[in-house]
Amino acid sequence: MKIVVCISNVPDTTTRIKFLEGNASIDTSGIQWVINPWDELSLTRALELRDDPASGVKTVTVAHAGPASSEPTIRKALAIGADDAIRVNCEPADAFFTASQLAAAISKEGFDIIICGIESSDFNGSAVGGMISEFLGIPSVSSVSGLSIENGAPVFTREIDGGRESLKVPVPCVAIVQKGIAKEPRIASMRGIMAARTKPVRVYETVDTDCLTEIAGFEKPAPGAACKYIDPDDPARLIELLQNEARVI
């Protein structure tokens, strides 16, 4: 069984995002790029399965749509333990474009399970995984929080209201995963980092696809109002503020 994990290259979550003039694009100078946290957890779970001989998972590949400058993020995934990588050489524009490029590359190589993080921590579009399944014409399961292999077939677990749901899905299929799929991301070992130097990264050129959306602009949220601390022994003060200042009661 072959697993491919789609990884996105996103700004480190502590980055203070700045926009370029016109507020239609992000100022990428000085940004530290990392693997999207949901994708990193997906990769961790995929590697756990590969490392368990009983699972039948033979290889874990990472797939990324992005320019050559995103190679460090791919190498990081290889250092963490992925066996090889696919990169579609493009400037990802929107979810439709990205999904179509990834789907084209994935279909050329053939995988049993395609795993995508539920969203990327930069644009939070939550659309790529579902679109890949549509492009490939295969089933997908969203909000997956558990993945195991039973008798050679994947079993997905989803958190549902008041309980859990287990789903058996024929391969090939797409799993759109959320946090909980693995406890903590794996740390790249020194041996893994050294090995990543020589692991293959296959580069595909783009297929013709239209971008269906265009970013009109970004806007930062308004700064939060100052927080007022109230002595816990002074509930009258709290009531006064809620009545007269916040005017909510």
């Binding site: 502590t14 203070r16 000085g30 190679e71 460090p72 190498r75 990081k76 250092a79 903590e184 991301p185 740390i187 790249a188 070992s189 020194m190 041996r191 980092i193 050294m194 990543a196 130097r197 100052a226």
Partner: protein
């Protein structure tokens, strides 16, 4: 491409360096960054969440965490692949030392194991010893410690009383004695122990397993800081050590001890960078959250001044650390082509840079003390609370000025070693000094019309070096062989050397960085502030020294020379510091 001229240790005083020839942290490869990230991730997931338990000196927990870092490969960075390591270059070793420096007590235990606990066997052990011990120390299967200090032998290491005698059958050395302040004592598996065989004048070194009968580990010391690291006395009561465990040759112990201390010092210079970056990050995050008088305290000039000064001092130390790391790598590579033994080639290259090792140790440990002190101050009352990381950082920092040779010893080493190397013929220091002294009355600041911003800085640095040489010359002439006993004057000279080396490293870094990225105003501000401060310092140190060695008639001459050679353009350091702080405040963490 023509290879660059590799300066000898201390030669920077009489030579200039091209910016293109220095290594700067902005040049780390993706692989080096990944290695650093692994160390950071390890601290974040395995160390920091357990810090409160570690601080209770939980020996089992610390050993387990150390083992995990070994499983990840962090302990094998300096070890060649044939002994189970990853054979990384010295720059990468220093980057790992820096990154793990943010790990408080863990960092001390880790560095002690990887450095003084492991490398003596790697560098001085024979093939059998390396196979038996280094292969396991490199993976954390064994944890190592280093036993040099004794109750009566601290800075004077050769005064140790621990003794070794050969057994009647000639198969064992019988070791008796006591060692103290041994880091990792509580859980170490192997010890590198220094002792005198029979009544030798000099030390020999032994590899002793703590499982050998007669090794007794004392209780952990109650320390001011680094409470999570195990520090205890170790007693050797008729411990039978196989003769195969003599490390190096009989009588080679002192050389081993000194070489390893050079290595430990230079790595400490890198280690403190990580601790300082964490303290700066804690400082700016707090300043960006804490409000007083209705505004964030990061908007106050007094706080910006502290933040900026933290940045300037750290940036200078960091520049110097990686500058010398590249020198060591280059020398190591040249030795490796000459030597048959890679281990000896490595330690000889590190030991060669004894002046810079001592200098970085002193500068780095004092930089960290400054940074953590201001970190506590920025936190105000909260900084005094044990709930905050800066409170622990403040206590943890203090040991760095004491271990790996006190800063007092290391300051003396800076000036003394440079002069000794010059006398040995490594470079012409005294000839240059004499020439300057002879023409002292005509010395001026050398200002040239139309010089570039970088050339102006280079001229200042040349002048600082000239002033240092003049002081060296004056002091040697006056005190001759007694100079070594005039420790205050030796310290004046060491301080001038230290600040000049740091400023020069910083200037070279900014010049190289600008050659890659174009003009970088905030980095220029850092250099401006640093040069301004160094100019003030060298003038004061020079006159302190001059008053001790010069005649009343010479003092006005020296004073005028000091004035000329420390003259720099006026800088609005207030505004420059504000701009530096503003970048830190905007980024909300160290992103220089």
């Amino acid at each position: 491409m023509e290879s660059r001229k590799l300066l000898k240790s201390g030669e920077f005083l009489v030579s200039s360096t091209e910016a293109a020839d220095v290594f700067i942290p902005e040049e780390f490869s993706e692989e080096q960054k990944m290695i650093a990230q692994t160390c950071s991730d390890f601290l974040e997931t395995e160390v920091m969440p357990r810090m409160n338990d570690l601080e209770k000196c939980d020996r089992v927990l610390m050993k387990n965490i150390l083992r995990k870092s070994g499983e990840l490969g962090m302990m094998g960075i300096s070890i060649p692949e044939e002994y189970g390591g990853f054979g990384q270059d010295f720059i990468t070793q220093m980057l790992v030392a820096e990154t793990t420096g943010a790990g408080a007590s863990f960092s001390v235990a880790f560095m002690a194991h990887c450095g003084i606990g492991t490398l003596p066997v790697m560098y001085y052990g024979n093939e059998d010893q390396r196979q038996r011990y280094v292969t396991k120390l490199a993976t954390g299967e064994l944890i190592g410690a280093y036993c040099l200090t004794e109750p009566g032998a601290g800075s004077d290491a050769n005064a140790g009383k621990t003794g070794a005698t050969l057994s009647d059958d000639g198969k064992h050395y019988i070791i008796n004695g006591q060692k103290m302040w041994i880091t990792n004592a509580g859980f170490a598996d192997t010890l590198v122990v220094f002792a005198k065989i029979d009544n030798d004048r000099v030390l020999s070194a032994f590899i002793i397993e703590t499982a050998y009968p007669g090794v007794v580990i004392g209780a952990d010391e109650h320390k001011m800081g680094i409470k999570g690291s195990s520090t205890a006395q170790i007693y050797f009561n008729d411990v039978r050590v196989p003769v195969e465990n003599l490390l190096g040759k009989r009588g080679e112990g002192f050389r081993i001890a000194l070489s390893i201390l050079h290595m430990g010092r230079i790595k400490l210079g890198a280690n403190v960078l990580g601790a300082a970056k964490k303290a700066i990050n804690d400082s700016v995050k707090y300043a960006n959250e804490r409000k007083q008088f209705g505004v964030l305290i990061s908007s106050f000039g007094a706080i910006k001044q502290k933040l900026a000064e933290q940045v300037v001092r750290l940036f200078a130390s960091e520049s110097a650390v990686y500058r010398v790391s590249k020198d060591i790598d280059d020398l190591m590579n040249s030795y490796k082509s000459e030597y048959s033994d890679k281990g000896r080639a490595a330690i000889d290259a590190i030991s060669h840079y004894a002046v810079e090792a001592a200098l970085l140790k002193v500068a780095g440990s004092e930089m960290l003390d400054f940074v953590v002190d201001e970190a506590v101050q920025i936190h105000g009352g909260m900084g005094y609370s044990a709930e905050m990381d800066v409170e622990r950082a403040y206590r943890d920092s203090r040991i760095n000025r004491i271990f790996e040779g006190t800063n007092e010893i290391n300051r003396l080493l800076v000036s003394d070693t440079a002069m000794k190397r010059a006398m040995k013929g490594d470079f012409d220091l005294f000839g240059e000094a004499e020439k300057l002294f002879a023409g002292i009355e005509k010395l001026n600041d050398g200002k040239k019309e139309g010089e570039s911003w970088h050339d102006e800085k280079k001229r200042y640095l040349e002048n600082f070096k000239k002033l240092t040489l003049i002081c060296m010359h004056g002091a040697v002439k006056k005190f001759e062989k007694r100079l070594v006993h005039e420790q205050e004057v030796m310290n004046n000279i060491a301080n001038m050397m230290m600040e000049t080396y740091l400023s020069e490293s910083l200037a070279l870094r900014v010049e190289k960085l600008e050659s890659i990225k174009g003009e970088l105003p905030v980095y220029r501000d850092i250099l401006d502030v640093n040069i301004w401060e160094t100019a003030c310092l060298v003038r004061t140190e020079a006159m302190d020294a001059a008053c001790a060695f010069a005649s009343p008639e010479m003092l006005p001459v020296l004073s005028r020379a000091a004035e000329e050679l420390s003259r720099v353009s006026f800088v609005n350091v207030k505004d420059a510091r504000r701009r530096i702080a503003d970048k830190l405040i905007e980024d909300n963490s160290w992103k220089f």
